[in-house]
Symmetry: C2
Subunit: 358 residues, 2 copies
């Protein structure tokens, strides 16, 4: 296979040693021009098969890896994707990051993690500055950043393609990936109904969060379709935190007699709060009250009983987001339609032990 006839010791001299070898080393060893090496490394057409193997062999011999920075500078692509986020839960961010990185690796891309302060007044400038400093091939925006005009404007002004994950503001303004929060809440409610529950309470999520409204809608719809009208004193406003779950539980359980048989919390954290409080005052879960959450955070298998909840496909969402960016960056550049694609990913209702039939 190795068709190169070069004295073995020449290899070292050409860069096989400690220093990283460059395209020039490979070209010299293979006896071709650097441009041809470039063609081979980028799988470009119009290279004779014989030449191609010659170059590949030389590259392998020298452990040659094209320098990403040089490629970016010379070419149109930077092989860098930016992930902009602002702190939601750590597991959310990590899942997001895993998904993005997984997809990026498939295409030789790398990921720059750039947490931002969504409360900073100069957020727009910070992002503009970032994008001016590093010409990213794409940016992935997550809540709450993906719903902020300032952010969208900065990214658009820089002309960098972007995808939003689970956005709720400015629909249709960009490509996006999401799951159907409303349907998931609908299904969860149906699940509770199927378990025989009729007296179902709901703890609403943070009103600033788009998904909170969608989840509540899904709940209402399922109830309506079952011919049930939720009791208003069993609907509580929470703020997605453990503490607000406790508060909601306090209010809900005030009268120790007139209790709902099931409680649907708009996110896991609040469900944890409810369960903690219930345990404190001796309300048995799920025997007296079934509790379900939403998100499937790591805590849901730590708490006892394990929480029945909705698993968001965060990794997949992130993978899909990166995929949109990369298939645009690699393949058809002339597919502006892709810019506005929207992908809807399936969720999963994971049944554990915090809800049981009545």
């Amino acid at each position: 296979m190795t068709q190169i006839k070069v004295p073995a010791d020449r290899v070292k001299e050409l860069g096989g040693g400690n220093a990283v070898s460059t395209i020039n080393d490979v070209a010299r060893l293979a006896g071709v021009s650097i441009k041809t090496v470039s063609r081979v490394m980028n799988n470009e057409p119009n290279v004779r098969e014989e030449t191609r193997t010659k170059v590949k062999d030389a590259a392998n011999l020298l452990h040659y890896r094209p320098n990403l920075l040089a490629r970016s500078l010379a070419g149109a692509r930077s092989f860098l994707i930016g992930l902009l986020y602002d702190n939601p839960s750590s597991s959310y961010v990590i899942d997001l990051q895993s998904g993005v990185i997984a997809r990026c690796r498939e295409s030789g891309y790398h990921v720059l993690s750039e947490p931002q302060d969504s409360l900073a007044p100069d957020l727009g400038r910070a992002i503009a500055s970032l994008l001016a400093t590093i010409r990213l091939d794409g940016v992935i925006l997550t809540p709450p950043l993906c719903d902020m005009a300032m952010v969208l404007e900065a990214v658009e002004a820089a002309g960098v393609p972007y995808v939003r994950v689970s956005p709720y503001a400015y629909p249709g303004r960009s490509a996006q990936v999401e799951m159907d929060d409303s349907l998931a809440a609908y299904k969860m409610t149906q699940h509770l109904l199927g378990l025989g529950h009729r007296d179902i309470g709901f703890v609403r999520g943070h009103p600033e969060h788009g998904s909170s409204h969608r989840r509540y809608e899904g709940f209402l719809q399922a109830m309506n379709e079952a011919g049930l009208t939720p009791r208003s004193d069993w609907i509580k406003q929470g703020f997605n935190s453990f503490a607000s779950g406790i508060d909601a539980a306090k209010a809900l359980f005030e009268t120790r007699t007139d209790l709902p048989t099931a409680l649907f919390a708009s996110n896991d954290e609040m469900a944890f709060g409810i369960m903690a409080y219930a345990q404190q005052i001796g309300v048995k879960i799920p025997d007296q009250v079934s509790v379900v959450g939403f998100d499937d955070t790591p805590g849901s298998t730590v708490i006892w009983p394990h929480l029945t909840t909705i698993r968001q496909p965060v990794v997949d969402l992130a993978y899909a987001a990166a995929d949109i960016l990369l298939s645009r960056a690699n393949g058809d550049d002339d597919a502006p339609v892709l810019t506005r694609v929207s992908r809807l990913l399936p969720f999963e209702l994971v049944q554990r032990d915090s809800a049981k039939s009545i």
Copy 2:
């Protein structure tokens, strides 16, 4: 202040428009050479104050940001730090990442997050390849990667400075940051002792994990110093998982009569398992048995009662690791001593509700 006399419309023509402006635009606008602009942007000495402001004004006017990629290619630094990790818990990784990013931002650096598969046989090659592709200015290695010979060799071969976070293998081989696991376990045990406990059990951590041994040592030392000999049937081997915590609890609580009054789990996850099982079989925590953990994972304030545990300064550790790298990269390049520095950071015993006095 603005000493530039250029017709306003010229600004646009020079790059104030949509396109990102380059060092050439600034040089032209300021009426100096690009080298002088470079000097100003890098805060190099030997530039007249007048010239400096002239350049700065021009740069501001054009919203000029030096292109990181070009800087890397031309200069000796890449302004990129790599964070290599392999999945421990998501909160651990996120904390790590936050700390690294925080420090990097102070110096205009960016972070490449590069999860690795520590079980992959070609891990060394993967890392070598990464380092050949992107000339990183430094790499941060976390457990378990920081204890693998293959990894260290790859990084050393590439000649990239690196810092290890909480390593246990190959002491002294590199710069490192860590906390004193042994001392922390010692203090926690003393805390339990101070609460009046004498019958203390211990659930050991994963034997492959260096910190597991240190934590156990700290426990033993405190017990010894108190003149106590731990009962061997109250020492259980766990594997850092929730499930192994349950298993340990099962064994420990088998005889419902002869129970320890306190249980020290080598990590939070196992403590959660213990608490879950205890709750199941009706053992009251902390009334009958006090339980403490180690790590202060997010779950510890979700579980009820909230867990008394040791807070690892993960963010600070990561910050310190990046700091070592950056002070080397920026300041004294001729400080090879720095290469082997070791920083020990303080932990914190956080008292919550899962342990009470006897």
